[in-house]
């Protein structure tokens, strides 16, 4: 007989993608009223497993039990019918609709659409669990965290009692994360069972009752959170002990390398994206750019790379090769790159603009070298070699250097991108979200690579999301808020709270909210 206290029981779920085993006979239980953290490196199969539970993938073999009963989940609809709701990393909301409209969208209720009634029900749910939401607000007016709230209410509204949250904190400020966790605890008190996928170990320890660990598609085991600490979890996750301290040597002989003065840009719609941004990046240091997603980080890096139209301001670059000062404003991307300014931007979809998804590693290495040589034909040998080096040194998981990067897992795609940019031997290396969604082990590989560049005298600009990392990795932090610099702080002496406040304050003019 089935044990009745399990909300979910997975029995030997297996899923292949081609020749790759994403999940190998994974058995897992989620108790009623429990918060379970699912932990694992990139490509360890967490998302695949959860996608099978929520009906996006169908398992090759194995059985799912919900509240003790064997079920077949062949579509997200089936999953909903069993009370399973998943909140994905990328929100699926209609921008021009209100929260209420989005929540009732796709519901197959009989009778007339009654938005008022729905709004009332949403208010009830919000009060019950402690959400802060205005049901009539349009999605495009909402912050990331508000959008997430809508997504969560959407599944609650549909009566889900088993919730799966896929990396919910990746885009939240520390304050917003605290709020989310409070809501999760309220839901737990109400008897909901929750699975949370996250890479941040301190969050795992803070919010969950039990941790289940996957490694390379295999189930490694579980541990009660009260018996675990960061070190033991990391060890279980990666299989061997890794150091958790980021090595941060003092900058050696820093000199100004890149001076941004009064940079102001507008987007297609005439909205000011950067407002009078001024800072200096020194050689031999890692300059962190902190800020809530969409505060102008992308525009800043693109402006420096020559990809964004600049309406005002100067970008002075002290070229170490020539010793001259150059103004980068008005130069084309190719000559900026040639001068030694390199950018690795990892966008949300991880491919976006740094990589060509349909090409393999070699083809993507060529993005930087295709123009080399006078020949009419492209040189494939050098990029092939570079691809092989990165493949080995960064332990990229791919069947061959010609395997389309689109089909690699996220972490591997990032290794390819960051590895290639570092291989250009830049004088200024800009990375944005270089460790987005990466597991601890891979993240450290990247931190070490960046620190090594810094020690070579490169001016590293690191745009990041995780404040803990920004504070441990960088030498100084520029905090952006709404396109303005709201503060420049020393990463060694500041703390999370101070940066968190700067991130949410309308910058510069002392306009406290």
């Amino acid at each position: 007989m089935e044990s009745v206290q399990n909300a979910v029981r997975l029995e030997k779920l297996t899923k292949h993608f081609g020749n790759v085993v994403a999940n190998n006979a994974i058995s897992l239980e989620l108790h009623e009223g429990e918060i379970l953290s699912l932990l694992g490196e990139n490509g360890s199969g967490k998302t695949t497993l959860m996608n099978m539970l929520s009906g996006i993938y169908y398992p090759d073999s194995g059985q799912i039990y919900i509240h003790g009963k064997p079920v077949t989940i062949a579509s997200p609809k089936d999953a909903f019918a069993h009370g399973i709701g998943m909140i994905h990393q990328h929100y699926k909301l209609v921008d021009v609709f209100t929260a209420t409209e989005n929540i009732v969208l796709g519901l197959n209720e009989k009778g007339k659409l009654n938005l008022k009634e729905a709004g009332k029900k949403i208010k009830e749910i919000s009060e019950k669990y402690g959400f802060e939401i205005n049901p009539d607000q349009k999605i495009y007016d909402m912050s990331v965290s508000q959008k997430q709230t809508v997504e969560i209410i959407k599944v609650l509204y549909r009566g889900a009692d088993i919730l799966i949250l896929d990396e919910p904190t990746a885009v939240l400020t520390p304050q917003e994360t605290d709020k989310l966790f409070a809501v999760m605890r309220n839901m737990q008190k109400d008897g909901k069972s929750i699975i949370i996928i996250t890479h941040k170990l301190h969050e795992v320890l803070e919010v969950s009752d039990r941790v289940a660990i996957l490694r390379k598609g295999e189930y490694i085991g579980d541990v009660l959170t009260k018996d675990a600490d960061q070190q033991s979890l990391t060890d279980m996750m990666v299989g061997h002990t890794v150091s958790l301290n980021i090595n941060r040597p003092e900058p050696v002989n820093p000199t100004p390398r890149l001076e941004v003065k009064g940079l102001t840009v507008f987007d297609d719609l005439g909205v000011k994206r950067l407002d009078d941004v001024t800072f200096t990046a020194y050689s031999g240091e890692i300059l962190g750019i902190a800020g809530i997603a969409g505060s102008g980080q992308r525009e800043l890096l693109e402006s420096i790379s020559g990809l964004y139209p600049i309406s005002k301001g100067e970008i002075l670059y002290h070229n170490p090769k020539t010793g001259c000062d150059e103004n980068l404003v008005g130069k084309d991307p190719m000559s900026i790159q040639k001068a030694g300014v390199s950018m690795a931007f990892v966008p949300e979809d991880r491919l976006g603009m740094g990589l060509v998804g349909s090409m393999g590693m070699t083809g993507n290495m060529m993005l930087r070298s295709w123009r080399n040589g006078k020949s009419f034909f492209v040189d494939k040998k050098a990029p092939e070699q570079l691809a092989n080096t990165i493949w080995k040194e960064l332990e990229v998981v791919t069947p061959s250097t010609n395997f389309p990067v689109r089909r690699m897992s996220g972490g591997n795609v990032q290794k390819v991108l960051v590895g290639r940019e570092i291989a250009q031997n830049p004088a200024v290396l800009m990375t944005a979200y270089a460790v987005r969604g990466l597991d601890i082990n891979t993240s450290y590989t990247i931190y070490n690579l960046l620190t090594a560049e810094k020690m070579k005298g490169v001016a590293v600009v690191y745009v990041g999301e995780d404040l803990d990392v920004l504070l441990e990795l960088c030498d100084r932090l520029v905090v952006l808020c709404g396109g303005k610099v709201s503060g420049v702080v020393d990463a060694r002496t500041t703390n999370k709270r101070e940066v968190g406040v700067l991130m949410t304050r309308v910058g510069g003019n002392g306009n406290e909210q």
Partner: protein
């Protein structure tokens, strides 16, 4: 809670080994022939094998028919090659019809207007070639220029350019009509054969076939190994990425479309100079559109297009043959062609996706 059971589940496949891919394609063709046989028996009462045999005879029955087949294959393949660089760049050039037409028009114009001033055959041919290439290139340049400058829709633009080309040709055909009042220009330079491309080994069609064969290899190399080919692939994937890599997107779009148009011009030149020696408004005869299908079916691989263009030419010529032999109207032949294409295109679904049938047994309950 008991939800409705799905009977099957569709999911994307990983990469299939090439042997399996071709097994699926082979099975699709067999199935298509089977369905066609049943249709033939039901609709016409004829022996399907006799019909297939006739089709084959129509294509390879005599030496003359075989040459015609290869000539038609060469023309269709050539136009397909022409549209391919643009397609790889995700520039939907459906104006090949018009680009070939203006190439033919320019070629005929040189032959007609300069015949009293030039007596050297070689010089004449060179001028014809230059004029054809230039006209085709211009027809490719215009939509590309507007696309890169003002982001106009290339599909509509290239489509409309077809009609301009055809109407222009119609105008000049009346202007140059021969004899007067005939409404057509007849064989150009019929007695002097001035500007006619030479026959190789007594075969009129051999030269254009060789030209296209060379072009196929050249384009394959161009797309796969040249810097231009790399730029085209990156621009096709994402313009943002291309800019990031320092590629001048506007220039690549224009250059590629000029190339695309010029190759079409070359086909126009071959049509007038080597095979038809005349200009009619139906000279291209829809092959500018068939080429789109050829290119797609071969997934933009020039070598693959040899097979896909052969397939379409085979079906077309075979269909004509059975229509005349069995006194069927050509619609029946079109039905057979449609069925075969349906299966060939449809089987790609099974190459990219797999269908899992769900077992309905319930364990443990």
């Amino acid at each position: 809670m008991n939800s409705k059971k799905a009977l099957f589940h569709i999911s994307k496949r990983g990469e299939l080994p090439w042997l399996k891919v071709w097994l699926i394609r082979g099975a699709a063709i067999l199935l298509a022939l089977l369905v066609c046989s049943v249709l033939t028996v039901l609709v016409t009462g004829l022996n399907p094998f006799a019909v297939y045999g006739t089709m084959f005879k129509g294509v390879f029955g005599t030496a003359r028919k075989t040459w015609v087949t290869f000539q038609k294959l060469a023309v269709l393949l050539g136009i397909s090659l022409a549209v391919t660089p643009a397609f790889k760049m995700r520039f939907w050039n459906i104006g090949a019809e018009g680009q070939v037409m203006v190439g033919s028009l320019a070629c005929a114009a040189v032959m007609i207007t300069l015949r009293n001033y030039i007596s050297s055959n070689l010089l004449m041919i060179v001028l014809m070639l230059v004029a054809s290439l230039a006209a085709g290139a211009l027809w490719g340049f215009l939509p590309a220029f507007f696309k890169s400058r003002w982001n106009t829709n290339e599909t509509l633009f290239t489509l409309m350019m077809n009609y301009i080309a055809i109407q222009l040709s119609a105008f000049f055909i009346i202007l140059w009509e021969n004899p007067k009042g005939a409404g057509q220009i007849g064989i150009i330079n019929a007695s002097s054969e001035l500007g006619w491309l030479p026959s190789l080994f007594g075969q009129q069609y051999l030269l254009p076939i060789l030209v296209i064969a060379l072009l196929t290899v050249a384009l394959y190399i161009y797309l796969k190994y040249s810097k231009h080919g790399y730029e085209i692939a990156v621009v096709g994937e994402s313009e943002r990425t291309a800019r990031y890599a320092g590629i001048k997107v506007e220039r690549v779009i224009i250059r590629t479309m000029v190339l695309s148009g010029a190759i079409c011009g070359l086909i126009g030149f071959l049509l007038v100079g080597a095979t038809d020696h005349t200009l009619t408004t139906t000279l291209v005869g829809g092959r500018g559109f068939t080429a789109v299908m050829v290119s797609w079916l071969a997934k933009f691989n020039p070598l693959g297009m040899i097979f896909t263009s052969f397939l379409l030419v085979f079906l077309q010529l075979g269909a004509k043959e059975i229509a005349s032999t069995f006194f069927l109207n050509e619609s029946f032949a079109d039905i057979l062609t449609g069925v075969i294409l349906f299966f060939i295109i449809g089987c790609e679904f099974f190459i990219n996706y797999k269908i899992e049938f769900l077992k309905n047994d319930r364990k443990g309950a």
